[in-house]
Amino acid sequence: MSHVVIDLKASLKTFWRDKSTIFWTLAFPTVLILLFGAIFSQSSIRYDLYVQNQDLNDGKATYWSSSLITVLNSTNAFNIHMVDASANGTDYALTNRLSSLIIIPSGFNTSANMALYNQGATTANITFVYDQSTSSAPIVQSIVMSIVDRLNFELSRGIEYLTVEDLAIAPKRFGFIDFFIPGVIGMTAMTTSIFTSVSISARFKQNGIFHKLATTPLRRYEWILSRTIYNILISYLGMAVMMLMGIAVFGMKMTLDAVSLLMVAMASLMFTGLGMIIARFVKDPDGADAAANVITFPMMFLSGTFFQLSQMPQFLQTIAQVLPLTYVNEGLRAAMIFGQTQQAIINTALIAALGIASIVVGSLITKWEED
């Protein structure tokens, strides 16, 4: 075990003295968070808005429900998607990770007529179900509110006939940044572990350091254990820096529990093993960096790090389902944002299993000696 500690100390010293590694490990994700945080607070694109119209008469939308949908559509602010009236709206939104859903309840037409008749003594209500951890939800909400205000004004010079009831589906009040940061933590664990493993293995091989180490009593498994612990520690460091920055700059609110810590450790384990497997098939450090990029870049963009998977085309969503980073990101969000501990544990167990498999394969095919 002392060999592991000695090698780990040497690796950490090397990390601390390598400014470019510090930049890519800590500063780069921090800059990403700052940029994305700023961009998504000022977006002006069309937003997906799901509408469930329960106010039907013989299967057809009633006058007022139909009118409201027409008005929402005419703003050109939304891509309207209709949801089956028989579904449980809130469950549907949670299951499908919808950002925004308007539920027009049964009897809405009657309530609207009543409100008009009694000059606002009663009101007609719609429900706005939203995931406050997404960047678009607050924007959609504000547009819906302004449409409703406008309708009220047009109909009755400001008397409130129509009201919107908020129903947040995330358990606490989180913002986009709270959604985003777990993704960047997952991404950093991946890039740190893969790049470190691939790059170090290729460089040690090319420079003959493996040969030198092989002439000492240091065992190969001790070295691999040291590298794995190193990657876990660096991923934790990245996690701490990103969370502190999120709290300081964006007032982030998220839970840091044992499951999320375990997930980061297992992700580092898995990506360390994956990096060792890649390293076995590259000939030199340049090839190693290219190979690491080929693996990490698609995963970075296709695994829901920056955007929700539901916002991607269906075929990309299908690809995402086979990428391990998807399960890391979803597991981290389940633990840190949604409070879905059970889901987080399932994802962590899956990543741990993949991690053990990849580190075993990586260890077996990594050679210090020549044939």
Binding site: S2, R17, K212, T215, T216
Partner: protein, 311 residues
């Protein structure tokens, strides 16, 4: 297990597919001696030394290091030997002192680190990062690292390759110091001068086969050419005059020099007398002693420099 030899190799062969890198070599290295493996790049030196360091597996044959079978007692061999690989490299951002401490830790050894730094004359560089050291200083650090476990024998694979003459002499001084401390040194080199100056015995390896093995003096005596007399800027007429004495001479039209292969029957004064009597002019005289280069040339038919150039 004890053995009178530091290294004992019997019929060692290493094949890579069709290529035979080492072809059934046998030799032994005595304890406390400096043994040099001399040959051009690609001759099989590094393959052999890496088999002895337990970094490669032989295709066939046996080898014992300090009495330990290289295929069965690897951990014992690693504990008792030190290794300087070709172009020693390590963590770039560890200092000289930290590098020595790192490798000492790997051997669970507690050497006097400052003493090791003094030994390789790196006292003023002890806090310099490895990446900032010159090639010669890196090799010196590599030698210090090879000594952290106070090994009984040290493998030095091309210890001065790529170094400038000053750095090379510094490393030679260090190796000589190890010899004086009673360490066995197994050295591979393609520099004849290095083998001639340092080694007690030299094994000449060519195309994976040991073609000669003895002390440098014995090798030169047995396989070297005779000493050479070079007559600078003379005339081609000198050649027939000298050959009348029964010895070989050769004129070089480019330099205008005549090279005479001396033997025991004809002395230099006799040659000079002949030239004077035939009124052949010549400039200065140069006497060249036979060297391991000549031994290599005689044994393999090619010069070491030609072999280097062809690789």
């Amino acid at each position: 297990m004890s053995s009178s030899y530091a290294i004992e190799v019997k019929g060692l062969t290493k094949r890579y597919g069709e290529l035979v890198a080492v072809n059934g070599i046998s030799f032994a290295v005595n304890r406390g001696e400096i043994f040099a493996f001399l040959g051009p790049n690609g001759a099989g030196k590094t393959t052999t030394v890496e088999i002895l360091e337990c970094l490669r597996k032989p295709t066939s044959g046996k080898a014992y290091v300090l009495g330990n079978d290289i295929e069965r007692n690897q951990s014992e061999i690693k504990k008792r030997t030190g290794v300087l690989p070709q172009d020693f490299y390590t963590y770039e951002r560890l200092t000289v002192k930290e590098t020595i401490q790192y490798y000492a830790g790997m051997f669970d050894a507690h050497p006097d680190v400052d003493e090791l730094i003094r030994l390789v004359d790196l006292e003023d560089k002890k806090n310099v990062l490895f990446r900032n050291l010159s090639g010669g200083l890196k090799q010196r650090l590599g030698i210090a690292v090879a000594l952290v476990n106070d090994p009984e024998m040290i493998f030095l694979d091309e210890p001065t390759s790529g170094l400038d003459p000053k750095a090379r002499h510094g490393v030679w001084h260090l190796i000589d110091g190890l010899h004086k401390k009673g360490k066995t040194v197994f050295l591979t080199t393609h520099y004849m001068e290095e083998a001639e100056i340092l080694a007690d015995r030299v094994g000449i390896i060519h195309n994976g086969t040991i073609v000669a093995l003895d002390s440098p003096a014995s090798l030169i005596s047995e396989h070297g050419t005779r000493n050479l007399l070079i007559l600078k800027k003379t005339s081609p007429k000198a050649v027939p005059s000298i050959e009348k004495l029964g010895i070989k001479a050769k004129y070089d039209g480019t330099t205008g020099d005549v090279t005479v292969h001396l033997n025991h029957t004809v002395g230099v004064s006799e040659i000079l007398h002949t030239l004077s009597s035939t009124e052949v002019p010549f400039g200065e005289l140069q006497l060249k002693r036979s060297s391991l280069e000549d031994v290599f040339l005689n044994l393999t038919g090619v010069s070491l420099e030609e072999e280097e150039g062809s690789i």
